[in-house]
Structure formats: C-alpha cells, structure tokens
Subunit: 200 residues, 2 copies
Amino acid sequence: MVDSSWSARSLGRRRGVELDSAILDAALEQLSTVGWNGLTMEGVAAGARTGKAAVYRRWSSKADLVADVLRAGLPPLGEIPDHGSIRADLVVLCRGMRDAMISRAGTALRSVLHECDTVSADRFHELIRTGLTEPSHRLFLALVQRGIERGDVRPDATGAFVADVIPALMMYRSKVCGSEWGDPDIREMIDQVLMPLLRA
Amino acid sequence: MVDSSWSARSLGRRRGVELDSAILDAALEQLSTVGWNGLTMEGVAAGARTGKAAVYRRWSSKADLVADVLRAGLPPLGEIPDHGSIRADLVVLCRGMRDAMISRAGTALRSVLHECDTVSADRFHELIRTGLTEPSHRLFLALVQRGIERGDVRPDATGAFVADVIPALMMYRSKVCGSEWGDPDIREMIDQVLMPLLRA
C-alpha cells in the first residue's frame, strides 16, 4: 500500500522540503496574480492546501516569505557563449532578460518592486541587488569585456550606469508604454542605443 | 461685510473653479501620500472640506478624477537655454527631471504608474504619453538637434530609444536601487552613458 505519487498521499502528511516547496510555489502564484498588496498568508495556505499555522511556523511574516520566494524563484543568469560580435551577444542577453521579465518569477518581482515602496523596500532592494542587479551586471560586463578583447567595444565602457541601460529601458518601456519587447524592439534598442554607446 | 479672503468664506458657498481646484489639490495630496490604491472619493472630499456628492457631481469615477489631477499637476517642461555644450544642457535637463520626479505631482504619477497595472492602465498610459513622455522626448530631441547643429552630437542620435535613456535610468535607479539622484549621480550618468551615446 506504499504509494509515493502525489495524489495518493494524504496532504496532511506532507513534511519538510515538500511542504516548503508547495508553500513557496503558492506564494509565487499569489505574487504574480494578486501582487504584493493582494498576497495574504491565508491565501498562500489555501493555495498550498495546508493550514495558516503551517505557513507561520516556517515564515513569521509576509515579508520573510516573499524574500524566500524571490530568492528561490529568480532564474540564475547563465553564461552566454561567444556569438562572434557584441551585437549578437547582446541580442541573446536581451532576449533572456525579456523572457525572465515576463516569467512568473519576473512578474512577481515587479509586483514587489512596484508595490512595496515604503517599509519593506530596503530589504527587497538588498535582495534584488544580490539576486538580480549584480548578477546581470556581471553578465553584461563579461560581454563587454569579451568585446573589448575582440575589439568591437571601447575599453572604458565598463561603468555601472552603462550596465543599467538595458534593464532600465526594458523596465521603462514595459511600465510606461506597456511594451511587450518583441524581437524587433530588442534589435532596434541595440542598434539605436547599445551599439553607439559601446562601439570601439 | 464683503470679504473675499479664504478663511472668512463659508466653505459651503465655494463654487465652480475654486471648488474644482480644492478637489484636485486634495486628490493630488492623496495620490502622493496613500497612492492610487489608497485614494478614495470620500478621502478626497474630506481633504477638500466638501461632501462626496460634490466630488461625484464633477467626476463620476476615481479614474476620471485622477486623469484630471495628472493633467493639471504635471509640470510643463519649459525650454532650456543654450549652455554652450550638450553636456551642460543635459545637466540642466536632468536636474529638472529629477526635481519633477520628486515633486508631489511626480510622486503621484509614479504611484499611478506602479499601482494601476490592469484595468485603468491603458487610459493612464495614453495620458502619460501625451502629458509626459512626448513633451520630454521633444525637449530632449531639441537639445540633440542643437548639439547636431553645434557639432558636438552625432547626426543620427535622434531615435525614440535614445530619448528614453534618461527617464528610463532615472526611474530604474530610483525604483530598484532607491537612488535619490543627487547632482553627482546626474553628472556620472551623463559622462558614462549620454556623452558616449551622443558624441559626434
């Protein structure tokens, strides 16, 4: 009678990692649908098909829970192989960032960023810095460094503001203009802004 | 006994433009403190020391009211005199944008932008486009055009994505990093990004 399939188990007997994971997943779902303001510990418990007490035993506050959701959900930025030119490398980078932005975790992150302006903001800024901004800076600067060695990027294009340009434009157009960042938009941004900014 | 000073008047007798203006001001105050989500017609009425019915007679919904608040409150972007170089002109432009961003109307606008992601978004996108994005694009492009004629800006730096760079970086750093955009930040952004991007 031992059956390890999900449906055959008593939900009440989920323990440890498995229940943690169900709660984190339910919280991510809430964040990406009702946002930071709409998320409740009750709603997360219901989504994970467990009790509120089980959620509070693990995370004493909504902010603690959301911090772990973002930590677990943010996609790690992989390496980008050399495509032979800075332009081709940047197209791949921007497509990856666009896909991350419209993913469930990306939507959740944006809701947190945009809604928690006050009390919890410092904490999330720190988390976003270590989980998102710094890794994406590192990846961008790796492409720039490769371009400098290849000879199609100027040697001093390594400032922090330069590395902000792509995420800033993506967030701005998505927020202010409702842009969906199709591939033609990405190519146009690279040709209008990134190539003149970076070229040797 | 005719006294036109504010304090001596019966509030109940305020009419027309004067009451409209008190309501718009109260709504701007609410937007910049409790944001789009927190704003209520009751709160606006209380702030304007009038009744809810007086607000509803003028604006049939919160979205109608907020649209007029933003239309009235967004600072008109003036002309920028020629300071002799694109760099000096850009410093003045960026300081003006920073000041607008942290003004009461700017804070209100950001709260609307960040909170109304769904139903009212299209309407506000349109308003932001005509009231903010297009005027700031025009002003930026006027500086670029002057720089092209002066000879310190490349002739093809006139694309829409180029004109997005400054507002995008300002919004991004303020949102993601909590940056307050002091004058040194502005100069650093201009030297790292705008000068390489625009130079002839």
